[in-house]
Amino acid sequence: MDLLDKLQILGESARYDVSCSTSGVSRPGDGKGTGNALPGGICHTWTEDGRCVSLLKILQSNHCDYDCAYCANRRSNDFPRTALSPEELADLTIAFYRRNYIEGLFLSSGVVNGPDHTTELMLRTLRLLRHAHGFNGYIHAKAIPGTSAALLEQLGTLADRVSVNLEQCTRAALASLAPQKCPQDIASPMRYLAQRNRQSLEDRQSSRRAPAFMPAGQSTQLIVGASAERDWQILASAQHLYRGFGLRRVYYSAYLPINSDARLPSRHRAPPLLREHRLYQADWLLRFYRFQVDELLSPAAPDLDLDLDPKSAWALRHLDRFPVELNTADYELLLRVPGIGAVSAERIVAARRSRQLRLEDLPRLRVSRRRAGWFITCGGRYGAAYVPDAAQLRALLADPVGRERQPGKQMRLEELDLVCTA
């Protein structure tokens, strides 16, 4: 099998891991080796499914000892198996990097002769890149559940980001769909990586010369729709991971029915892309808009509204908080207004220090009056032409440009942007 064949097979095997971020690390070139890393991350291209490509996302090997029900690479699936040698993979990464196709490498693997053996193989690739090639670009490495602490330590010193995929957020779902993985095999590496990352950050505050450990932090992935888990459970897990483990990102991957298995949804069921999109929007609210999970969902109302973004849905449940006066509302309240983003809220607060704002100023502040207008006043003037009732407002927010828009020109909700940077 030649290199191109391996590249195709192992790239396809890695495509269901959705992480694409290259942000969180600021590392200039060292004048000798190759590469640098920018804190904001860089997108290099977009595939036909609309996803950002910033790294060479690939498996070291798609052989796998495990038989997880949802996984394309599970042991019981019959398709070509192959592996890239560390030398092949390192050379390919450098060649792509030099041509500016990628920001770096995203390396994962099927489990070959156990977690530690698999991790040692991946570490050979990373050492070749960092030491032999002098590579200073971005590396995201997957930690295999059950990997020993000693190997995790090496992984964290070579990679910028390390992730352990949770995939399921309940023990019952994990036991059903991935019986060879025990919760401790997943939680233990995550806990170790989180603790080492915290320690490294503290050490570097004392001395910039202290070695960095996983400077872009840790992330994980949750599959959406492969089991009976509700949005409330998924987001509550995400909130716990952000606060308890200090994770930088939780990614949500809509389950694609690639396997026939009685434990999984029918292969004829459409993938829950819209649900995945709503989860990302809710995740954004948790991380940047100071929402709590219990403001969005509860055991009694465990699923996000598919017709509305979560922020608008919250606003409709709390119309007593509106309208908000832009010249006096505090930052936290501005963040709650549909149509006002975190950056726009900062701009409003900064701009009103010099003079009172008017509705005419909103375009310069990049505030969407079409959306925010229903919820604000500015200098005492209401932001919209009339005051709708709750039912009208819901209809307007679900279709913000009005029913008269041509169906063909309406943006399908599935087409809305997925956030892909940390």
């Binding site: 977009w46 030099r98 500016n100 100023d361």
Partner: protein
């Protein structure tokens, strides 16, 4: 009264300095040729060291960080090439010096908003091209790329790639403006007009001696302050032998990375409009190396 200046950022700053010293509020700031001044305009000659002069004044009045940010914003707004932006740039500088603070937050002011949004647009474009530029490796190991950006971002992205690839010569050609930025073997970054470039040979970038040397580099990271002679005569760069393989490898990889059940061409185009595709080897219509099968991605 109109004030006319050389069509460079230093030319604009010289005119701005002239207006600020005399407390003059011109009817407009016009860029032009020194040998073709408008009869109704006052021609202001470019001052030597005017950029450093502004950096010092802004630093003293606003503080080092804020002063640097303000000058960078104005420079980036200049690179946007938006008609009439010079008037807003002058107003922005005047406001910064009067307030002794960064005026960027005053987005309610139309001139401030114009400069900030123009600057942000240039910054976003530069960031985008940090990802969308495609290099080809020549037989001698040098790297060459070409693009045609809407705004003049060559000076913004050249230092990024010079830092990223310190071990080899590289060149980036702006086809829209016929300019080339390059880092020569001695590590210096320069930007020059692209003279007599055969369009059929995108990898052969000729960098010829010019009597007055190349334009002073816009690279703020460059240590040199004096114009340098161009790096020797023509530097034809031939394509490396494994270039075809790597381009094909990238295309096949991307094809297999895409998930068919999630196919969404509208979303792809929303992130990566077709205007960027001409120089992307993975996109239909993108430049392909000679000998490539030209497979559609």
């Amino acid at each position: 009264m109109f004030v006319q200046h050389e069509s460079t950022f230093d030319g604009f700053l010289s005119a701005a300095a002239w207006c600020l010293r005399r407390a003059v509020q011109p009817d407009g700031m016009l860029a032009g040729q020194s040998d073709q001044p408008l009869l109704e305009a006052t021609w202001v000659t470019t001052e030597r060291g005017v950029r450093a002069l502004f950096a010092r004044h802004l630093g003293e009045r606003l503080g080092e960080a804020a002063g640097g940010n303000a000058l960078t914003r104005v420079w980036q707004a200049y690179l946007s090439e938006e008609p009439g932006i010079a008037d807003s740039m002058l107003a922005y500088l005047r406001l910064a010096l009067r307030l002794r603070g960064d005026p960027s937050a005053r987005l309610g002011e139309p001139e401030v908003a114009a400069v900030v949004h123009a600057s942000d647009r240039v910054s976003r474009c530069a960031h985008r091209y940090q990802g969308l530029l495609r290099f080809r490796e020549a037989g001698d190991g040098s790297l060459a790329a070409e693009f045609a950006p809407d705004v003049d971002v060559l000076a913004l992205i050249l230092p990024h790639f010079a830092d990223r690839f310190p071990d080899r010569p590289l060149a980036i050609c702006d086809r829209r403006r016929n300019r080339v930025g390059w880092r020569s073997a001695d590590g210096l970054c320069r930007i020059s007009d692209l003279v007599d470039q055969p369009a059929a040979l995108p990898l052969a970038l000729r960098i010829e001696d010019r009597p007055d040397g190349p334009e002073q580099s816009e690279d703020r990271n460059s240590n040199r302050t004096q114009p340098e002679q161009a790096a020797g005569a023509s530097t034809g760069v031939q394509q490396g032998s494994d270039e075809v393989f790597h381009e094909e490898a990238w295309r096949v990889y991307l094809r297999r990375l895409s998930i068919p059940e999630r196919r969404n061409l509208a979303l792809q185009r929303a992130h990566m409009p077709k205007k960027y595709w001409s120089y992307l080897i993975e996109c239909p219509g993108g430049t392909e190396s000679s000998g490539s099968a030209g497979q559609q991605y």
